[in-house]
Symmetry: C2
Subunit: 242 residues, 2 copies
């Protein structure tokens, strides 16, 4: 067999290629939340694959939390993934149950040269830096500093403030076709510097919790690095292991 051009693919197994294709089509917004995807049978026919292969690909996306299967009914896109999985830290200690998403205020968005440590993680120093403050129960509780590659998020800094919702990951998806599939969090403890203290309404030197997060695409490409700081006494971080 002659090796044709476009061997970028390296001939991955069919079920992986289908998985990636579906992930791309989902990211492209082909289906709305809670809308049914084509059935296993259709996908098999359209892709000239067997049902077993299709099932394997779809199942991976289910395991990743992107899709949801309902027996007898269909396979559905599962948007609520956001608040549930990737927004599960800082469940406020005081107002226990609400489960409401805190509001957020954008403080700045600028295209800058990334600090070295950030550039190393993201693989580029051409980044957009976002400063954000999140409120809960009418008090600021989280001061965030976010870095995203300018190449992936071209023009992010020019989006009108009011079109950037309280959650960033849906914005990434809707406007830039970038899907955050996983993240590494690192929680530690420190004390507030001048500016952090001012933003959080506490005194410099007071105890704060620090969360550093690196977010990845489904393929493992780093998409975002952020550092978030909040008053230690209001902090609570949940995590499931295994």
């Amino acid at each position: 067999m002659v090796e044709t051009a476009s061997m970028i693919d390296t001939r991955l197994p069919a079920y992986l290629r289908l998985r990636d294709e579906l992930a791309a089509r989902i990211a492209a917004g082909e289906w709305r939340a809670d809308e049914a995807l084509p059935s296993d049978n259709r996908l098999a026919r359209e892709g000239s694959l067997s049902v077993g292969t299709v099932r394997k690909a779809v199942q991976m996306l289910v395991d990743e939390g992107l899709l949801e299967r309902r027996q007898g009914s269909g396979t559905y896109l599962r948007k609520p993934a956001f608040n549930a999985t990737l927004f599960r830290f800082f469940q406020m200690r005081d107002a226990g149950s609400g489960q409401s998403i805190p509001t957020s205020r954008l403080l700045s968005r600028t295209r800058v040269k990334a600090p070295e440590a950030v550039a190393k993680v993201l693989g580029t120093d051409d980044v957009i830096r976002i400063e954000r403050l999140r409120d809960f129960a009418d008090r600021p509780f989280l001061s965030e500093e976010i870095y995203i590659p300018a190449s992936l998020f071209a023009g992010f800094e020019t989006i009108p403030d009011n079109e950037v919702g309280p959650l960033l990951y849906p914005v990434y998806l809707d406007r830039f076709d970038v899907f955050v599939a996983s993240a590494d969090d690192e929680v530690s403890f420190g004390t507030a510097d001048e500016t952090t203290a001012a933003r959080l309404g506490i005194k410099p030197g007071e105890a704060i919790a620090v969360i550093e997060r690196t977010a990845y695409s489904i393929k493992g490409t780093p998409l975002e690095w952020r550092i978030a700081r909040g008053p230690a006494n209001r902090f609570r971080y949940r995590s499931r292991i295994g």
Copy 2:
């Protein structure tokens, strides 16, 4: 169809029953770490199942981190799961790389009536309470209070101290056939009370990190509840989301 006795099973699908059977045999110590399990073909023959069904069951245990498949070679038991996955908090901030397991000192083991909150989680108030102190770099860094159901761990409090290693989960497995498959962690910050401060060698009122963990079996039964406290400034917690 007549409902016979022993309908505990409810006739689960074959691949789930095989998964559970394998998990049980693993827990029973039938294979040592890094030892190969029977091949897919053998398991299929011995269980009168098809290879596809066997593969499905085995794959679940791989996903859970219990097993490891090596193409062309075999399926192997994967013991290192312990230190890696379930012991990944408190990666000491100072001694960065060592990755060594801290030593631990047992302070007490007694059969007690559980506090209400603990009883609610474990589903019983007949528990064994363990107090433990872990050292790292010759300093105490973690004071733990652990509760396990007496029914599952009968006689745990009578095991000689020197037979309880620095890690509890292997002891659960080796001596009680109890396998910890997952856990929920909850991290927060607080201040040290008298006894905690004394144990950790810090001053009362100093900042501490608090990790509350509930550990579960593969079936979701709660196996253990623990609360661990350590000096906040030495603390660092990692977690992977997604």
